[in-house]
């Protein structure tokens, strides 16, 4: 058994660009942002210039409720880099607004994860001065 928690060592630091800066600024404020299409209402992530549903360029940032359900998961035992503490659980979350995000699961035992588990976002400040959105079972 191993309680999953946010990484404490060095992890790769995001280098936001024009398109993605608002997303990371949101994380710093403790807000999970996604884009919604002003024409068809579709939700999109990762940050884009085109709506994935109708191809409109009329996308605006919106704050997510931060809740969803696990769509898929993998428990990683061989770290990408040695600075990662294992095990960590990579997850894809089906967010309640109808978009998907890739993140890590925290706050539970590593073998407690299942497809469909309800989760909520929580933010953690990382070494290097940036904030990552993790998810915890609710």
């Amino acid at each position: 058994m191993s309680l999953l928690r946010p990484q404490t060592g060095k992890v790769p630091v995001p280098h936001p660009g024009t398109l993605t800066q608002p997303y990371w600024d949101g994380c710093s404020r403790g807000e999970l942002l996604f884009q919604r299409c002003g024409d068809c209402g579709h939700a999109t992530h990762t940050p884009a210039y085109l709506c994935s549903n109708c191809t409109s360029q009329n996308l605006t940032w919106e704050r997510s409720a931060g809740t969803g359900a696990i769509y898929s998961w993998t428990t990683v035992w061989r770290p990408q880099m040695p600075s990662f503490e294992v095990p960590y659980v990579a997850i894809i979350v089906d967010m309640d607004e109808g978009w998907q995000i890739l993140s890590n699961l925290v706050g539970c035992e590593h073998d407690a994860v299942e497809i469909g588990t309800r989760v909520a976002v929580e933010f953690h400040e990382m070494e290097g001065g940036f904030t990552l959105p993790y998810f915890r079972p609710v």
């Binding site: 990484q7 992890v11 790769p12 630091v13 995001p14 280098h15 936001p16 993605t20 990371w24 990762t46 769509y71 898929s72 998961w73 993998t74 428990t75 990683v76 035992w77 061989r78 770290p79 990408q80 880099m81 040695p82 990662f84 960590y88 990579a90 894809i92 998907q100 995000i101 890739l102 993140s103 890590n104 497809i115 990382m126 990552l132």
Partner: protein, 389 residues
Amino acid sequence: MPQHPYHDVAITGIFNTEQARVLEGEDSMSIAFKGGLGALADAGLAIRDVDGVVGQFANDFVYQARLSPVWVTSSWSGIPAILQAATAIAAGMATKVLVLAGTAGVYVDRASTAPWTRPSSEFVAPFGMFTAAEFALVARRHMHRYGTKPDALATVASVIRNNGHVHPGAIYRGRGPFTPQDILDSRMVADPFHLLDCATASEGGCGLVLTRADLATDAPRNPVYVLGGNGDSGGTAYKNPPTWELGGNRRADWVNGTVGRRAAEDCFRTAGLGPTDVDVCEFYDPFSFEIIRQYEAFGFCADGEGGDFVTSGAIEPGGQYPVTTDGGVMSYSHAGASAQMLQRVIRGVEQLRGECASNQVAGAEVAMCSNGGSGALFTDVMLLGVDRP
């Protein structure tokens, strides 16, 4: 009937350099050049016979050998690179094209996964993602949807690793034989993938020569022909969540879980063939599950039945559709981003020439080769044949 698009194209040269976990004294360019020179020798050509070059080091090769003016393309990796070469010949842009690739001396930080398996995107890298974890997320969905069992994944890995076990040039020759239980007993890397479900990381080079068919009459080896080729892309890999159900606008039934289906259907249509005509399947094997997925996506079995298909004996040596007969990227070699892809086609050519030192499929006339995978949101497919189309 219109002429086949690759009627005028022949593959006349192939070569693999030595493959190893580490090739002392080599860098990527040196080993790529050795791969290319070997392929030219196999084709009976000299360096300056070439009027087209494809590969990461194509421009270095052209400049150093002063081959100018020649045709070069920026599409440099795997099956798309070979199809670019074939298309250039078919369209009259070049007549003798060298495709070369190699990787050495770039994987020095062994505490981390290989550099070409670590994506840099800000949306995945901070979460510890690398290719095994990306592909695991898709495999999990297949297991969830269809009840596919770890035994099926382990069967694939044992078959391919046993192919490498008997291949004289494989990095892991003599390391087996493996049972499915051996795979399941190896340490977990990214659930459901155990260590032996995953590709290795290694160094090596390779090359291919494509020639206008009417100029191939004095080639030392029997030419092999391109019966069809195409690729499906679902967009940017290793940045967006790798999902089974990721769809697209082009076809209502297209999802990332069956990426490569459109490409395979097009290959078969171009060739006038179907899956039952394929004698050997030189599929790309980054992770065991991807073989199950490809047999479904390419139409060898129905969706969801890939697990039963791979445990039926069909993919083993002597089966109807033997898979990845050289040991693939699990056991033969996994050298960087391009060589490992080209080597699936090189093995297909070896099979159709009838010159495999191990696991030769007797009388093989049609080979199917593939690259990519669902975790990477793309799959490329090629059909090779002994008869000029």
